[in-house]
Symmetry: C2
């Protein structure tokens, strides 16, 4: 809609990867250096980019400040964090909190487990709708219409042999999720990682959040995670209560 703003945003994401010089940025945008310079000057004034020693541009501190502020505004976070922390401590696994926002599930909290390896998830980034257990569990509990709308935007890209790439199979997986009360990710995004996720209910009994427990298959295969599902559910239940939910452990009111 607005070319200028789109370019400014492009600059920020370009610069977020690594520091860039004016020339590189201008070339990336396909505009004259003077044009890029004026955009950068405005962004710098706002603290969105900054000049690093050497003259290149990098992300500004205002981004950090706004990110923290935005994070603080995620109410569920503060209500869930202590419980998630406890869970992570107890089992040593990585724990996520996902929130449904618009048409995607976003990670809003993450507690790294012991001996964590590189994992794609990051607070603030959206989860893959068809592979991430948190996404699947939240999706499973949405009404038909919402689910269809979200899945429409999902590409069902194959990442591993177990990735569900068929829409009907995914629907079946979601039905199973509803039935047993939790979702699983059987190495569907990374071969060697599996997760188990449970729904969190809000004050109106809707599922707007989910928690997931992530572990290396070699450390804790799905079977082991399943063995602790009652304990995990207890944590999810606790968070639900913190969100003002008055139902029982099975999601009924």
């Amino acid at each position: 809609m607005s070319q200028t703003v789109a370019r400014a945003i492009d600059i920020i994401s370009f610069v977020s990867v690594r520091h860039r010089t004016l020339g590189q940025i201008a070339e990336h945008l396909g505009v004259h250096k003077s044009t890029a310079l004026r955009l950068l000057q405005t962004l710098e004034e706002g603290g969105f980019v900054r000049r690093v020693p050497g003259g290149a541009y990098g992300m500004g501190f205002q981004l950090i400040a706004l990110g923290q502020l935005a994070l603080d505004q995620v109410e569920a976070r503060s209500l869930a964090h202590p419980i998630l922390h406890e869970l992570s401590e107890k089992y040593g696994h990585t724990v996520h909190l996902g929130e449904l926002a618009g048409d995607q599930v976003v990670y809003v909290d993450k507690i790294d487990g012991r001996g964590t390896v590189a994992m794609g998830s990051r607070i603030g980034l959206p989860a893959q709708a068809h592979t991430a257990a948190v996404a699947k569990v939240i999706l499973a509990y949405q009404d038909e219409k919402t689910r269809a709308r979200i899945l429409e935007g999902a590409a069902l890209t194959r990442f591993t042999p177990t990735t569900i790439t068929d829409a009907d199979a995914l629907e079946a997986d979601l039905a199973l999720t509803r039935e047993r009360g939790w979702a699983e990710d059987d190495g569907e995004h990374e071969d060697y990682i599996n997760c188990l996720a449970l729904p969190v209910f809000d004050a109106r009994g809707r599922v707007t959040h989910g928690i997931s427990i992530t572990a290396l298959r070699a450390v804790a295969p799905l079977a082991e995670l399943r063995a602790h599902v009652d304990d995990f559910r207890e944590a999810a239940h606790q968070i639900s209560k913190n969100l003002g939910w008055g139902g029982d452990a099975y999601g009924r009111r």
Copy 2:
């Protein structure tokens, strides 16, 4: 420089305070609603703002993601965090890590102490140059020219009776800081809060970072903080070593 980008930035900070409707945003900018809408649509596409249930606009999740990314790029953070955490655990006070970036000192890490009260500092926000102990300690160790440049941009606003509002007095305070090796904030920003800060040396022996220990005067007055200064210095020293510094505990090489 670029009106459009400036407006986009204005929108983000306006929306960061609380959710706003299109009308409010347009009025705030002093532009027609259709203009504001087009800016918002572009920002939404980039994830910088999002529509919240009800139709209003709020901060987008991309801000969280970028903020986290920017934070991860602050190298000193990961090197200092464990040490700061330990310090905070041991004394129960709030601990900050400040970094000199351009012409201001920015908080890049913060560990809340036990029984923390509201404090203005936030990760990503700049520290007051003339009151915050972290800012003063970093400033004290800059060369004449840098110090002058930074102080030029500082307003020396009075917040409390002890705030140093005179440039000469501030220079004297900084000289004292250099001499004894630490800076103090004797309720200069908030009456009831005092801090003690120490310099962190980088690989080239320059002070680009500082750590501060903050406490309620009622809990731990300056005299008590001073009693532990050797311990605090040990932590600062440890961080310096992590940054590749090879000097001794007094900042000499």
